[in-house]
Amino acid sequence: MIPHLSLSFCLYVSAALFAIGVYGVLSRQNLIVILMSLELMLNAVNLSTIAFGRAFLPASPPDPSGPQVFVVMVLAVAAAEAAVGLSILLAVFRKWRTTHAGRIDMLKG
């Protein structure tokens, strides 16, 4: 028997992870950590989506696969986003020789 996890518990964990992600993106200076925080945000949302899907299961919507498909799609998007993000990061490092966000500051005004 799997111990029962309540919906609200999962949502609190998800909210905490999401908040950590947002905090990381806004406050950290290292671009790689920022990238990690972005991924954390997406995965936090995955957790709440799947928790909702599990909680609604007894109410039996016509097709319970909706949230699960959603999560798989988001995982794929997160992978693609990491690829694009890392390649932009590489281009930035080649030109700027730094991954410190505060030092990349030509555009202003």
Binding site: M41, F70, V77, A80, E81, I88, M106, L107
Partner: protein
């Protein structure tokens, strides 16, 4: 084990067939042309070191042909007044509204591709990837407006964003371009996170991932399972979309990404990304907060959306116009002006929410009409900027435009027409766009939004005419080099079409307004 057998025994699930693919033919054409451009590039010879004037013309030709076919298909659907069609198990919904927004997106892609030849050749980066990315982005944008499921909204949004992130940083040996791309990526990723959380909350509150089902249940007087969760979800979704359209507190990426990217890409971003995002914003706003659509279902959602969008509209109009006053770079000035125009478009979204289905006002006719001249003006202005400069170096400051009228009268005249239209001076297209939007706002009782809009438009005249004064009246300064200009047939054609169209739409606004009213959301 039991689970497996129930799946096998279940009645045949509705499947996706050829009809579904036929319904999204314009998207498929764009995708196929993009892939074709990618392959075609392999067979084109690398250029000799002094670049040949013609460059890789087959690339431009093929990709332009693709946008023309996609545009013709969309026009055909509008012309035939096609009925709303829903496919892919309800994930995609094609109606006249999505066709009209799609048409503006395709227009943006076509102008970008037409003008891109010069910009790419000047920098020695004429690669098929550019054309492919523009076409892929356009395809995702059309799908974005057509999406009727939360999953589809997120997928197509991410697909279009990622293509545009790469386009922004396409000139990857230029520091400013990669910096712009990076900032766009980080803030875009953040906004996608908010949007995704919002979508998850909407799902949690309504127990469905299908927008049409959700709206139907709400309109039927069935309250959502959790009303406050729905409001939170809609608020987060609104924040995500406000990032994408560049509304005020979420605008930080706009000036940097617009300045860092090549000017033709900036034009594409300003037009296509904004049009597609506004399409979805309007759909969500009208589905959940429209006056008639979701009447008894969730009054809280309507109140929150109305307050949120009106507030965003006011601060965006004020901030965009004031910040544009202070700029010394023409490109950055246009970036802030793009923020200001987001504000005017948000006013259109607010009045669209007041329209009752079946009533006299069609929801979003003013917004749709405004998008068209806005697209022409932005594309024209940014293509004109992309012509200024030598080699890989751009001349983007307002002072560098001094003396342009003497040396290149045609370019100066085109830019003059576009700036006058941006400022909303009659009888140009921009004037009618603002008139229709503000008239709708007053007719639906939001006169305070119209008032702020009119006052800020008056402020905007100053900075638009600064460019005109620099071109026509100020002497060329000693220290600055003479304005130089590199443009071949494609770019000149794009600029000429944009300027002439701005005048034509200004002279005959009635026809275009009727088309927008016919295509508005029902």
């Amino acid at each position: 084990m039991n689970g497996l057998f129930t799946i096998l025994d279940a009645p045949a699930a509705p499947a996706i067939g050829w009809d579904d693919l036929g319904g999204i033919l314009p998207v498929l054409v764009l995708l196929a042309t993009g892939s074709l451009a990618l392959v075609l590039d392999l067979f084109l010879k690398e250029e000799a070191s002094p670049p040949v004037p013609a460059g890789k013309w087959p690339l431009s030709f093929v990709s332009l042909l693709g946008t023309a076919v996609a545009g013709a298909l969309l026009c055909g659907h509008i012309g035939a007044a096609g009925k709303p069609w829903s496919g892919f198990l309800g994930a995609v919904q094609v109606d006249l509204f999505s066709d009209a927004i799609g048409l503006i997106v395709v227009l943006g892609a076509a102008f970008c591709l037409l003008g891109a030849g010069d910009a790419l050749r000047r920098r020695g980066i004429e690669q098929g990837e550019f054309h492919a990315l523009v076409l892929y982005a356009a395809a995702s944008m059309v799908l974005f407006v057509q999406s009727a499921s939360l999953v589809m909204v997120f997928l197509s949004l991410e697909a279009l964003s990622m293509a545009v992130y790469i386009l922004t940083a396409f000139q990857r040996d230029e520091k400013r371009a990669v910096e712009g791309g990076l900032k766009y990526f980080v803030l875009g990723g953040l906004s996608s996170g908010f949007l995704l959380l919002g979508l998850a909350f909407i799902y949690g509150a309504t127990r469905s991932t299908n927008l049409t089902d959700i709206a139907g249940a709400l309109a039927g007087g069935q309250p959502p399972a959790d009303s406050s969760l729905l409001v939170a979800g809609l608020g987060l979704t609104l924040i995500g979309l406000a990032f994408k359209v560049g509304a005020f507190p979420f605008h930080a990426w706009v000036p940097d990404a617009y300045e860092g990217a090549m000017s033709v890409v900036t034009g594409f971003m300003a037009v296509a990304v904004k049009a597609a995002s506004f399409g979805v914003l309007l759909r969500v706003a009208v589905l959940f907060g429209g006056a008639g659509a979701s009447g008894p279902g969730s009054p809280e959602a309507r109140g929150a959306l109305l307050a949120g969008i009106s507030g965003l509209a006011v601060v965006t109009m004020i901030f965009g116009n004031l910040a544009a006053l202070a700029q010394s770079s023409a490109k950055r000035m246009l970036a802030y002006s793009a923020i200001a125009h987001t504000g005017y478009l948000l006013v259109g979204a607010v009045s669209a929410m007041e329209a009752r289905p079946g009533g006299e006002q069609a929801a979003g006719a003013g917004l749709l009409f405004y998008l068209f001249p806005y697209a022409l003006m932005s594309l024209g202005a940014f293509i004109c900027l992309s012509h200024l400069g030598e080699g890989a170096e751009d001349r983007e400051s307002i002072d560098s435009l001094r003396g342009l009228a003497e040396r290149h009268p045609a370019h100066a005249l085109a830019l003059l027409v576009i700036m006058v239209s941006f400022a909303g001076i009659p009888p140009t297209a921009g004037f009618w766009g603002k008139l229709f939007i503000f008239r709708e706002a007053i007719a639906t009782g939001h006169w305070e939004l119209a008032l702020v809009g009119i006052l800020t438009s008056i402020v905007s005249v100053y900075y638009y005419l600064r460019l005109v004064v620099a071109m026509y009246m100020l002497p060329q300064e000693g220290g600055l080099p003479a304005p130089s200009l590199e443009a071949r047939i494609g770019g000149k054609l794009a600029l000429a079409i944009a300027a002439i169209a701005v005048v034509l739409v200004g002279l005959f606004p009635g026809i275009f307004f009727q088309i927008s009213a016919a295509c508005a959301l029902r």
